[in-house]
Symmetry: C2
Subunit: 383 residues, 2 copies
């Protein structure tokens, strides 16, 4: 009896989780019971980190303690900074992040301790250090000295300080904080699933996070925001947005990057929130020439039967590209920003997997030859 091939594992339920749930049919996302719209309106990224790790919102003393520990862990060991300075400046920023996180594991005395206590310590260290790595690499590859983290700023503000070397506006900090809140977890997405597969072998947290970074790096997963940004730039060069839409999308059948989602058949709730923040920042600056392009293109799609019938709405990547661009994130640094947020979800899923672990080992369906007789080397012919 042939077993059914579940290519892509679409619809296959692989684990219980208490972390997040996507209601794709009504366009709703919750983290541990809280609507993402409430979290985006009220919560700091640090509160969301606490919620995902400990299953409840922190009290003020608990939040203070978390922030103090994040500050204490944010600096990079000199050997990591030294390594970053030696990498080729043209290297893919996600490959740099993958390598740096892997190397941090070599120096961590907790690396091979898979107890829950050690896993919480490693989750905290990674959540604190990933922003520092990203900001340092952005500066190093541009020939600038890295800027050390400060212990009087929240995670979003501190990142922008380390990136730019000056304090960001409150609107920029708010926009980045909301971005980090919105991207922190999303069910059993491919990078989170990758981290759980590695953990299922009783692999350590560094191995699981390094694997997740490599998975998020893929253009079909975390790379979609960069693709959307590049598309907006292309559209901006066209005679008009409408002309580009007619010629490229309707005429040539090109996909609009950042529209449609395997899980959402209703509008992605994260897109609307990011759009509001894009409008809030861009109203006070001239940085966002592409917001108008994105809005006009979205309106064309929303009025087109092809997009309406297929429920192809703007997803989180679409407006996150605009927000990140507006706060000074270079396009190829957008996927690392995704990792800066998603480390919260990855580490929470890793800890959850450890608490109820079973090796994830599916099967392949062999379709190759069978019963071939061995042929000695000198009797083989090239055919």
């Amino acid at each position: 009896m042939a077993e059914e091939l579940k290519k892509g594992l679409e619809g296959v339920v692989v684990a219980d989780t208490r972390l997040s749930k996507v209601f794709g049919d009504i366009g709703k996302l919750i983290y541990v019971g809280y609507d993402i719209r409430d979290l985006a309106a009220h919560a700091s990224f640090e509160e969301v980190v606490y919620l995902l790790w400990y299953g409840k919102l922190p009290t003020q003393p608990q939040l203070n303690q978390l922030q103090a520990r994040l500050h204490a862990e944010a600096a990079l060991h000199p050997s990591i900074l030294q390594a970053l300075k030696g990498y080729p400046t043209g290297a893919h920023p996600m490959a740099v992040l993958r390598t740096a996180v892997s190397q941090i594991g070599l120096n961590d005395p907790d690396a091979e301790d898979n107890s829950q206590d050690a896993n919480y310590r490693k989750a905290l260290s990674l959540t604190a250090k990933i922003p520092t790595i990203i900001a340092a690499w952005a500066r190093i590859r541009a020939g600038k000295e890295p800027v050390a983290p400060r212990d009087d700023l929240g995670l979003a503000a501190n990142f922008l300080w380390m990136l730019h070397g000056h304090e960001a506006s409150q609107a920029e900090v708010n926009a980045l904080n909301v971005y980090l809140v919105l991207l922190a977890d999303h069910g059993m997405n491919a990078s989170t699933f990758t981290s759980r597969v590695v953990t299922s072998t009783e692999g350590d947290m560094y191995s699981a996070v390094v694997a997740a970074i490599g998975s998020l790096k893929g253009p079909k997963h975390g790379g979609a925001n960069e693709a959307a940004m590049r598309m907006f730039r292309e559209v901006a060069e066209a005679p008009s947005v409408k002309e580009w839409f007619e010629s490229e999308v309707k005429g040539k059948g090109r996909r609009i990057m950042g529209m449609g989602h395997r899980v959402y058949k209703a509008p992605d709730p994260r897109a609307a929130i990011l759009k509001q923040h894009a409008q809030a920042i861009c109203g006070t600056s001239e940085k966002c020439v592409l917001l108008g392009v994105a809005e006009e293109l979205e309106a064309l799609a929303l009025a087109d039967p092809y997009f309406v019938e297929r429920s192809l709405y703007a997803n989180v990547d679409y407006y996150s590209a605009i927000v990140l661009d507006a706060i000074g994130i270079e396009t190829d640094m957008m996927t690392p920003m995704f990792a800066m947020s998603r480390i919260a979800g990855w580490s929470a899923h890793i800890i959850e997997q450890w608490n109820d672990n079973r090796l994830i080992r599916p099967r392949g369906n062999y379709v190759g030859p069978v019963d071939l007789a061995w042929v000695p080397l000198d009797e083989r012919r090239d055919d």
Copy 2:
């Protein structure tokens, strides 16, 4: 309607493959149609690499070309050797391999080229360089200078040259070659599956291989040979093997490491072949005090109803530990040896996944709270 939870994905068929098939009920393993027993008896590891990559055995000129290309790619860039010399000597060798492979990707101009041609080039480069990394790290952490690869030796002989700094005996080279042949692929095992999940996001080969290394590192996957070796040492300290078996296994219910397998319900064909090679090497040296322990323990299990009823036979890890120990591999270097072989299968699966790709994105079953109302920070109570 609740969907069925497929924890561990046991029995779920995730992809078509032409690479290998495990016949668990009759204890048979084939690569691209060839019985592993024929390959172990006749083939070099390089022929198996060619078979997995190109779907057929190479002719002599094709094999010569592959070997020449492996020789040309075996040396490490000075920046990688420099990095290895800076790592803490106590770091886990698999974490070192994970970091070094990730860093190699930073310098490879092909890193972001996911064409089939580039993927074959990267597969070749990694297959050539992983032995060099492992041998270099074994020497560096012992305070010795790395030994450069030679271009007049096959992959197995060359590795032993780089590791020991002198040529190995023919029996040792044969044993390592057979080990590499036997471990090169094994259906949809956890690390191979990890590499396909990363590839499914259109992630690059370095990201996929780095993830696979982290997955193989886990004690439930590649770490099992080390666990078997440590157990043999413990048994050797006991008054007798029989006494240890009665007291630890029958008395305390401890598992025998390296016995039993999720897929095999008949003897693992690889175990018998490795046992023969262990006997061949150990007959001419005094290195293998533990072979006798392993054989006696296996005989006790084979005569015990508990093991017979549950089809718990020695698997590949059991005798590979003895073989690797006999050729001078330190116990914590045994999982890297597994990676040296499995890179052939990983890279072949990655190329196969690219040829018919679909994002691997399963679902989670949310069991957490729903509809929680937001509570402002100053109203939260610790409970």
